[in-house]
């Protein structure tokens, strides 16, 4: 463990800490050290705000809720993708400068702010929710809890795109971006495919446009997800199994032909 425990800081006490923040834009830039006072119980985003308030008024950083619910403050702290508002200073070794950089996988706009439109373009491609006819004349539906609960985990997604950032398929191979939608979109696709009201079949889309075969289930997306969604186990692997059902399982194909079932 390289992490120093700073939890001994009593309420009302403080100590100095150095943030090594990347400053620049798409054409390049440099790390700048900012040494500031840090209070007990603070998170990285708090300290960054101190930097912004006292030494770097022009520092660009996205944030909103400070509660891990808006997904805005994604960055890489000491090289690890994380939400800055959920990364407590007492989990970091403050005896050394702490590096704060923008997320790698998306083009930089300024300082810590990147252009994440790749993820919105991907979301647009997904065949939309296609509900069956309503169950009642007033247009309402009846669903059983055991059918809907599987997808509820996926609705926790806050679209921080940390999973997209860490995924080596596009992080280390940007040329794969046109062929791979990324883990966040597989979470969305799993939610739709497992939804009890939905009638669309997206298996072909998942295989072709989604590029699910590029994922080698090495689970970095699951490791960084701040909502603890079991991205690989509950979304990607079940989708891969559905793709196998349709494309790689001759027994199922014959069985389907014989029984007339899909």
């Amino acid at each position: 463990m390289t992490q120093a425990d700073t939890s001994h800081l009593e309420p009302g006490t403080s100590r100095t800490v150095t943030l090594r923040v990347f400053r620049g834009d798409a054409s390049g830039g440099e790390f700048v050290d900012y040494t500031v006072e840090m209070d007990e119980g603070q998170v990285v985003l708090d300290v960054l705000h101190t930097v912004q308030a006292t030494q770097a008024g022009d520092l660009a950083v996205r944030w909103n809720c400070k509660a891990g619910k808006c997904g805005s403050c994604s960055a890489e702290v000491n090289g690890k993708p994380c939400l800055m508002c959920m990364t407590r200073m007492n989990t970091l070794d403050v005896s050394k400068p702490i590096s704060v950089t923008p997320i790698k996988t998306f083009p930089l706009i300024k300082d810590l702010v990147t252009d994440v439109s790749f993820n919105y373009e991907g979301a647009k491609q997904i065949p939309a929710f296609a509900p069956r006819a309503p169950d009642a004349a007033d247009g309402s539906y009846r669903m059983m809890q055991q059918d809907i609960e599987r997808g509820q985990e996926f609705r926790k997604c806050i679209e921080c795109f940390l999973c997209q950032d860490v995924c080596h398929v596009i992080r280390d191979h940007p040329e794969n971006k046109p062929n791979f939608l990324g883990p966040r979109q597989f979470v969305r696709l799993a939610e739709l495919e497992m939804h009890p009201l939905d009638t669309a079949d997206r298996t072909e889309f998942i295989r072709e446009a989604g590029g699910i075969a590029y994922c080698n289930i090495t689970k970095c997306c699951t490791e960084v997800c701040p909502e603890s969604i079991h991205i690989t186990d509950n979304a990607i692997i079940p989708l891969k199994e559905r793709v196998v059902d349709k494309y790689y399982d001759p027994f199922r194909w014959i069985f389907g032909k014989l029984t007339g079932r899909d």
Binding site: K80, P81, K96, T101, Y214, N216, T218, C220, I237
Partner: protein
């Protein structure tokens, strides 16, 4: 190249092992890589060692289970090679082992947010890795092995040989340390198989409606159970791997007279 370089935000750069991580990220893949090499290496060697006794009394090492007797004696190689493709194929295509060896052996990626090896990457979309889609067929065969290993474990409680290593022993039902070792082995392999992701899909994961009929409601209950086991799939994978190595070592040591198995038949 410069163009591709600009596809990531500075100060990050593309390239093998590129990272800004400062922690010991390499420890886990290194430990897993060494562990896999040691245990799988041992089993590989063991499968060829049909010259070194691998059975005694009611005990047969699971590496050679099921025993291909008589007709296969003419087989030039070790008989284990005729059956081992099932467990080998099952583990090689297992979702957990894939994660382990992609990270530790193929360095794809070696760690999270650490640059992966290889200029081009197509994952499991092209040959040979597209073959990982065959996992479920190995799983079907592995379920047969669960039965076979349980037969072997139960057989280990019943001794049919009255003279072992020139010493008269009792026959019939009994129990020895080896029987317990084999029961644990069968249990761990069963749990490894029952926590498999493809098995989870088979029992209910592929279903789109859990509430529709009595059958689908039953499937939902089984799926819930398998899902709980599935969360520990990695643990079952390692426990069953380590234990089969231990079982093989134990039975061979007993079979070759290096140690004595405490049992109710009167020792061997």
């Amino acid at each position: 190249m410069a163009q591709v370089d600009r596809a990531v935000s500075p100060p990050h750069r593309l390239g093998f092992l590129r990272t800004l991580r400062t922690d010991a990220w390499w420890f886990e893949p290194a430990a897993i890589g060494i562990g896999l090499s040691v245990f799988l290496g041992y089993l590989t060697v063991s499968a060829f060692l049909d010259g070194w006794a691998y059975e005694i009394g009611p005990y047969l090492t699971p590496v050679f289970e099921p025993k291909l007797a008589g007709s296969f004696d003419a087989w030039y190689f070790s008989p284990a090679l005729l059956i081992l493709w099932v467990p080998v194929g099952f583990r090689a295509t297992c979702y957990y082992y894939r994660r382990a060896y992609y990270r530790s052996y193929l360095l794809s990626p070696p760690g999270c947010a650490v640059g992966d090896a290889g200029k081009k990457y197509s994952g499991e979309s092209t040959f040979p890795l597209v073959m990982q889609n065959l996992h479920r067929f190995f799983m079907y065969a592995a379920l047969v092995f669960v039965v076979l290993l349980w037969i072997g474990a139960i057989r280990s409680f019943y001794n049919t040989e009255s003279i072992i290593d020139g010493v008269a022993v009792e026959t019939g039902w009994g129990i020895g340390l080896g029987s317990i070792v084999l029961v644990i082995n069968a249990t761990l392999l069963m749990m490894y198989s029952f926590s498999c992701h493809s098995f989870r899909h088979l029992v209910g994961g592929g279903s789109s409606c859990f509430s529709c009929s009595a059958v689908s409601r039953a499937r939902k209950r089984i799926w819930d159970r398998v899902s709980a086991w599935n969360e520990s799939h990695r643990t079952w994978a390692w426990a069953s791997l380590i234990w089969i190595v231990f079982t093989d070592v134990y039975i061979r040591l007993v079979a070759n007279g290096h140690i004595t198995d405490p049992n109710t038949w009167g020792g061997f």
